[in-house]
């Protein structure tokens, strides 16, 4: 894992002191709320329905045991004892007092964490693949590039007041586990003639105008990625719309200019910028890369897993993924208990997972965009012991990528923007499909719920998506089918008129019945939908 040196630490510490000063000025009345707002937003502090919400960055989704333990301690000390993992590998605390915020940032800084640029119209937390470094199919571990970009984007002087927020994801596998093409810029590392570089996708995003990002360059050499991104951002900063915040994201610019014209402008700017010395030397990437070197895995470990306990075997089949090292496995920890809140973890659960990581996973934890956790380096021989401890803590749900592994935004229970409640609906759906066999029968089925058109719950990218809207003061839920945030990225289509909360659960059941009746051998829900189209589903729902 990356560790701060004295430069990184001094920058984060300076930010804490700066914010302490700003909060004091606000509490003393020297700053009005209007003047304070842009300052607190740059530190991820939002004023929500009931309290302040603080969003903490988890860069590229990697945490140490020490960091996760600290996140749990903060939840216990300053919040109501829990935190919420988001779809962008951040953690949100929903019940923060303004006066406590500087001290929380100081505690985060003590474990090399921060909330810098987790909101505001700037470059946000760089996200990545939760299996980075441990999956066999990657070209390289993408995290060194993500860390390089974390540093490059932090307090970037030119790109801190962009037309709108800007999200970047970096992956290095053909399997896209990070919804890369639904980001403002997505980078996919590829090898060409023995050299590493990036395919660059620009102009993806969700919100009210969802777009899958088109490819704008098929290879940027690794040593020029920073200057190429500067060119991409400069063109966006120049031409991105500022008259209408709903049309200000880069996806609208790329769409309105056309991909070819945007590319041309970027290339023109890149030609000017590539020789300005903006790129760190390769030694810097090497320095960062050394922190992510593969650990010394034990050899000669057993591959067999004792499957005599059926509940354990079910969990292994669902939650455990292949690791590149023999005798090791990747463990997915579900934060989607059937009666819980998707993505929430209590202080005690965070402490437990930190303990497990320390004992069984070389101190490391990953956070996924699907709001789950991962122990990336687990000896197969330890799986049973881990499962037992997870079970005692209510963390042993076996539902990875199944219909109850629901992505949901906080919704109207917390969020000032929401039109509808996401959490109670997620719980109703989870209960309707709770039966293990039924879920397994339906197979991979990614269900995603957003409580408003801003799409934090990624509903456009759900195999089944749900969008909560306000219809004359009553919550109403639209149903979408056929989206995907993976390597086969696509946007879901609305089935037709919306439903009540119970009505949409019934409609989902009808949709899954059609899938079961019509699927061909080996087809996932999404495959069947793509083959037979919307019509049969629509007839079943509205017919």
């Amino acid at each position: 894992m990356y560790r701060y040196d004295s430069y990184d630490q001094s920058i984060v510490d300076a930010r804490v002191e700066e914010f302490r000063d700003q909060v004091q000025r606000r509490l003393a009345g020297a700053l009005t709320e209007d003047q304070f707002k842009p300052l607190r937003l740059m530190n991820g502090l939002y004023l929500q329905l009931h309290a302040y919400m603080l969003r903490v960055a988890i860069p590229y989704g990697t945490l140490s045991a020490r960091q996760l333990r600290k996140l749990g301690e903060i939840a216990a000390k300053y919040d109501k004892g829990y935190g919420h993992f988001t779809t962008r590998q951040n953690l949100q605390y929903n019940w923060i007092k303004l006066a406590d915020a500087p001290e929380i940032l100081a505690e985060l800084a003590s474990v090399e964490m921060h909330a810098i640029q987790t909101s505001g119209n700037c470059i946000r937390n760089i996200s990545s693949d939760q299996y980075a470094g441990v999956s066999a199919d990657e070209v390289a571990d993408p995290r060194p590039w993500a860390e390089l970009l974390r540093q490059w984007s932090s307090f970037h002087p030119e790109f801190t007041y962009l037309p709108r927020k800007f999200k970047i994801a970096v992956i290095a596998s053909d399997d896209d586990r990070a919804a890369m093409r639904l980001h403002d810029i997505g980078l996919k590392l590829v090898a060409r003639d023995g050299l590493i570089g990036a395919e660059v996708y620009a102009g993806g995003g969700m919100g009210r105008t969802p777009m899958v990002a088109p490819l704008i360059r098929d290879f940027v050499p690794e040593e020029e990625i920073v200057s190429y991104l500067e060119a991409c951002l400069r063109v966006y900063n120049r031409y991105g719309r500022r008259d209408n915040k709903y049309k200000a994201r880069i996806k609208i610019l790329v769409h309105e200019l056309g991909v070819e014209e945007y590319k041309r402008q970027v290339e023109e700017e890149f030609a000017q910028m590539r020789d300005l010395g903006l790129n760190p030397p390769t030694e810097e990437l090497d320095r960062i890369r050394a922190f992510f070197a593969a650990p010394d895995y034990e050899t000669g470990l057993p591959e067999e897993i004792d499957r005599s306990d059926p509940a354990f075997a079910l969990w292994v089949d669902r939650q455990v993924a292949a690791h590149k090292a023999p005798g090791y496995a990747i463990v997915n920890i579900s934060l989607k208990p059937l009666t819980g809140i998707p993505g929430d973890a209590s202080a005690e659960q965070m402490a437990l997972v930190a303990d497990l990581a320390e004992r069984y996973s070389l101190n490391e934890i990953r956070v996924t965009h699907a709001q789950n956790l991962v122990l990336p380096h687990v000896r197969k021989a330890d799986l049973h012991a881990i499962w037992q401890q997870l079970e005692e803590a209510g963390l042993a749900e076996a539902n990875l990528d199944l219909i109850t592994d629901i992505i949901a935004c906080p919704g109207l229970d917390y969020c000032a923007l929401a039109n509808a409640r996401s959490i109670p609906l997620a719980q109703k759906i989870a209960q309707r499909f709770a039966d293990n066999e039924r879920q397994a029968e339906l197979g991979e089925l990614k269900l995603k719920i957003s409580g408003c058109i801003n799409a934090c719950g990624h509903h456009h990218a759900g195999h089944i998506g749900i969008l909560g809207v306000d219809r004359k003061g009553v919550e109403n839920f639209q149903l979408l089918l056929g989206g995907s945030g993976a390597e086969d990225a696509s946007l879901g289509q609305i089935t037709g008129p919306g439903f009540s909360e119970d009505g949409v659960v019934d409609a989902i059941e009808k949709v899954t019945d059609i899938y079961l009746a019509q699927r061909a051998q080996g087809e996932r829900f999404l495959d069947t939908y793509r083959r037979i189209g919307m019509k049969p589903f629509k007839e079943a729902i509205y017919g």
């Binding site: 700066e18 300052l39 002087p157 790109f159 500022r242």
Partner: protein, 146 residues
């Protein structure tokens, strides 16, 4: 409180700035004002006869002026580069990094707060046009020349 802030040696330019349109026409003016949305690249052929470029910030959240400034400095502009309009204390550091060397905000600034802001961060992560060595250059001094 200060109404005008300069980081240049000598007198600030006094000539009133004209619009980009009249400047790039036949004007003899040596001072020009860029509005948000105007393309700083139009000035590049004329940099040698300019002594003042004002960049207007109509609202503090409109960040186009940061790019305008950096583009001019990257092209070698040495004259005064002045940020005017809705310019706040907490933005001075980034503006300095993009090449602004004078400030005439629509609301006066607290000079003590400006001083605190300018000295708060000892290090920066990016190379820009202010000559500050980024952290990566300090980490690898043997690789950086000039």
């Amino acid at each position: 409180m200060v109404e005008f802030l300069s980081f240049r040696d000598g007198e600030a330019a006094q000539e009133p700035a004209v619009t980009v349109e009249s400047f790039t026409g036949q004007s003899n003016s040596t001072a020009v004002r860029i509005e948000a949305g105007e393309d700083a690249r139009e000035l590049l052929p004329h940099l040698d006869r300019l002594s003042l470029v004002e960049v207007n910030f109509p609202a503090f959240g409109d960040g186009r002026g940061y790019s305008a400034a950096r583009i001019l400095r990257e092209a070698g502009y040495q004259g005064e580069l002045r940020a005017v309009g809705d310019v706040l204390v907490d933005q001075i550091v980034a503006m300095r990094r993009c090449g602004f060397d004078s400030f005439h905000p629509s609301k006066a600034l607290d000079d003590a707060a400006v001083e605190r802001a300018l000295t708060r961060y000892a290090d920066v992560y990016q190379k820009s046009v202010d000559g500050r060595a980024p952290v990566w250059a300090k980490r690898h001094p043997e690789k950086i020349h000039g």
